[in-house]
Symmetry: C2
């Protein structure tokens, strides 16, 4: 598929993300604007919008949801990078929010982005029942059984390799799943289809994180835009460290295969969507 397809979507998302924000209004708003302006792949909103396109749904009314998803992802990055968590100085090749501003502003910027996500969901011009269903999907993906719970497991990780898959699922795959299920809700998929799509999303999400683990070990720092080769010294739950390169490369293929199988069963054949699945797991950045 031509790269341009995703670039157009990401460009639309980038514009919508900062719509109405005024960086001159104060440090908090400036820090939020900064965090949203640092170049990013916008993977999750692009995934969401590509799925909508697969079902012939125009982004328009759903752009607020796409932005909410990226706000949530951005909040999670700011707090992950915070000195009380991973204490990272760079993200996407730029200083992290707490380095550029300070720890307090970074804490507040994350809090505010999470709030802004729900504010945009509330204001999305959708039928109220759709809004409520999307709210349910997203909150259950990022709470104690999802992203935040996975982050807590990651924090306490002390080498128990049995936990790595749960951490990858909760910390990474659940938000990817929620992004796709929000699109499925928009496309009126049946509960059974939602269930299957959720399985595919978890599979591709785990493979995506495994690909990230491979990148940390063997990737090019400049191309990836963040400090690599640090999982080992940080005792992070990097699957490659605990299971070996060959095994994880096989697993990535297996999860990818399972995803494609489910998508085929669901009759999802939209080439840009299938291509995006591939890009998520076979990547150099």
């Amino acid at each position: 598929m031509d790269k341009n397809y995703y670039e157009v979507l990401a460009h639309d998302v980038n514009r919508a993300l900062v719509d109405g924000l005024d960086p001159g209004k104060g440090t908090l708003e400036e820090a939020i604007f900064y965090a949203l302006s640092v170049p990013g792949k916008r993977l999750r909103p692009v995934l969401f919008l590509t799925f909508l396109n697969a079902y012939g749904i125009e982004a328009g009314d759903y752009m607020d949801i796409a932005c909410a998803i990226e706000y949530i992802h951005t909040y999670s990055l700011i707090h992950d990078d915070h000195p009380s968590m991973d204490n990272d100085d760079f993200r996407r090749g730029m200083p992290t929010v707490h380095k550029k501003y300070n720890d307090a502003i970074a804490l507040l910027a994350g809090d505010t982005l999470l709030t802004m996500a729900f504010e945009r969901i509330a204001r999305a011009p959708l039928p109220p029942q759709k809004t409520v269903n999307i709210l349910k999907i997203l909150t259950s993906g990022i709470g104690i059984e999802g992203m935040a719970g996975g982050q807590a497991l990651d924090l306490e990780f002390s080498g128990d390799k049995e936990l790595i898959l749960s951490i990858h699922r909760m910390k990474t795959a659940e938000l990817i799943k929620a992004s796709l299920l929000c699109a499925a809700e928009a496309a009126d998929l049946s509960p059974e289809e939602m269930e299957s799509l959720g399985e595919a999303a978890i599979a591709i999400g785990i493979a995506f994180q495994m690909a990230d683990d491979l990148l940390d070990m063997y990737g090019d720092e400049e191309e990836v835009g963040k400090k690599l080769h640090k999982d080992q010294q940080n005792q992070s739950p990097n699957s490659v460290i605990f299971f070996g390169r060959e095994y994880i490369e096989t697993e990535v293929n297996r999860y990818y295969g399972r995803t494609m199988e489910i998508l085929e069963r669901l009759g999802i054949t939209f080439p840009p969507f299938l291509d995006l699945m591939k890009k998520m797991v076979f990547r150099t950045k």
Copy 2:
């Protein structure tokens, strides 16, 4: 009014707050359980429920909203107390979350409580349009124009007394306003009535924070349950420091009077509600 009335409401809230939480499940859930179990006045949910009672609405279906409001308040306290913010060791007479656990868990516990607030809103058994309206009210009260924005102004406060009223309004009064407007939404008040009620809520909220400023200067530490007399050394925007005791005591009375005037105009005469307004501003803890 008999004290028992509020105790019954607060007791119901306390039970509902931890409903479904399992502190044995992991450190994050334990920390959240701890934060919710530390005794608190539950002022905001009690305010919300008392207003519902004034309109003859049973708490039942709205208990999720009451809990969401307290989750939001609790998240804000955990992050306010965090070492990257105020670095407080005690809250309500007990160790703060980061003292009891650690800085990372405190950060995550706050994030998760904010998420849980929206999860409960999503799951409240209400007509979807009511849910969406409540979501709008709450998110606009706690975002960049409300609580979080006020927290940022507070952070950067450097003695400009003109800002104190804005900080009090945003950081404290906006969540109180949102709590009342959620109840007004439940009670189907008209937009004009909502507008007036919002003004009353801001007035009582500012008076409530001024009462807090008075307590910090002249209150009894043991009775209040947190470290007092620290606003001066922290250069906090304490109105009493900048405007004097007598002036602020007069202001508290003036804001209280304005609140009662608006409530009278709205025909709100429910004694427990009016009594609660009084308790909020004339207090010793």
